[in-house]
Symmetry: C2
Subunit: 171 residues, 2 copies
DNA sequence: CAGGTTGCGTCAGTGACTGACATCCTATAG
DNA sequence: CTATAGGATGTCAGTCACTGACGCAACCTG
């Protein structure tokens, strides 16, 4: 926030935390990683939420429910997320890491769906699409939080249903 | 292919090309970028393909058509893609760049759809979902090319229609 | 209290990437 | 044909992210 990410050396980051640079790298894999620690927590939250979804629920609704389960965590984090987003927005290297984290979540959700007995191909497709929907909803909510993340999720899933329905009609 | 990406210095890469390291960095932004030059070409191909889709076509079908338009380019590139994929697969830093390129295409497709008159929110959602479908299809085709990329695309879009239809039924 | 583990500091080293400047090559005006 | 401006390349020095090796101190654990 003070000098921009690229202009901040790992030395400075570590010093501000009261440790040496070497110690910083014992806690975080690289300079960027310190800004993406929350992904682990989010993953755990999604695991819990998905576990509490009845087994008979179809994959996409199950993901929708899981995302809703993670809403409190994400909304509670907004004060931090907002600062974070402002830095990421102007730093290509950080945007890259962010999409990498999303991609990692897609892989994770794919495995989680497969564990629920979903066919591997469908699992991958649903994880990819569901994560995309969630990303769009979150982005909208970051831009304007007034409607709430739950509502944005619902809206995005509804829109998915609409665009893919009219898609079907056109075939 | 010979030593692994991480074990290959930029010095070596440049030397193999008959230039100095400094010259390498005048042509590519960083060490990884040399492996992702094709994205620009793909973007141009998608632009052309999207331009030839009638204006009244709905966004998702338009994207489907655009991806089909890029199939020859992608399939023609398979010999190279295959080697590339093998290196990327075992190099996290390259996977990160790859998903970043996909994310860049999502942004690009969002703009392209908006230019067609699609509502901004719907454009983003369709670009995100459509790109996801295309990524899944491409991944399946990379794994087993026997069916052809066109067929994989059709199958993935059909599956999207199915999972989002049953999703609608459940609401 | 001996020994093992864990976290940190120090140091030296590698390699990606950049800015400044010199040089050379080429295209085009004259 | 030649002078010259522009662009591409080489050279050099420097910064900074990141890593391995070693030593030290705190803290369990039996």
């Amino acid at each position: 926030m003070e000098h921009g990410f690229d202009q901040t050396t790992t030395d400075r980051i570590a010093a501000r935390a009261g440790v040496t640079e070497r110690t910083y790298f014992r806690h975080f894999a690289d300079k960027r990683e310190v800004l993406f620690d929350g992904e682990k927590q989010l993953r755990e939250e999604l695991t819990k939420a998905l576990a509490s979804v009845p087994a008979h629920v179809e994959p996409l609704p199950a993901l929708r429910a899981a995302f809703h389960g993670a809403v409190p965590l994400i909304e509670g984090n907004r004060p931090v997320s907002e600062l974070r987003a402002r830095v990421i927005e102007v730093t290509p290297a950080l945007q890259e890491r962010e999409v990498a984290k999303v991609a990692a979540l897609v892989v994770f959700l794919t495995e989680a769906l497969k564990a629920r007995g979903v066919d591997a191909r469908i699992a991958q497709l649903c994880a990819q699409v569901g994560m995309g929907i969630c990303a769009v909803a979150t982005q909208r909510w970051m831009h304007d939080p007034s409607a709430g993340l739950d509502a944005e999720l619902e809206a995005a899933f509804r829109e998915l249903h609409e665009v893919s329905a009219e898609f079907g009609a056109k075939r």
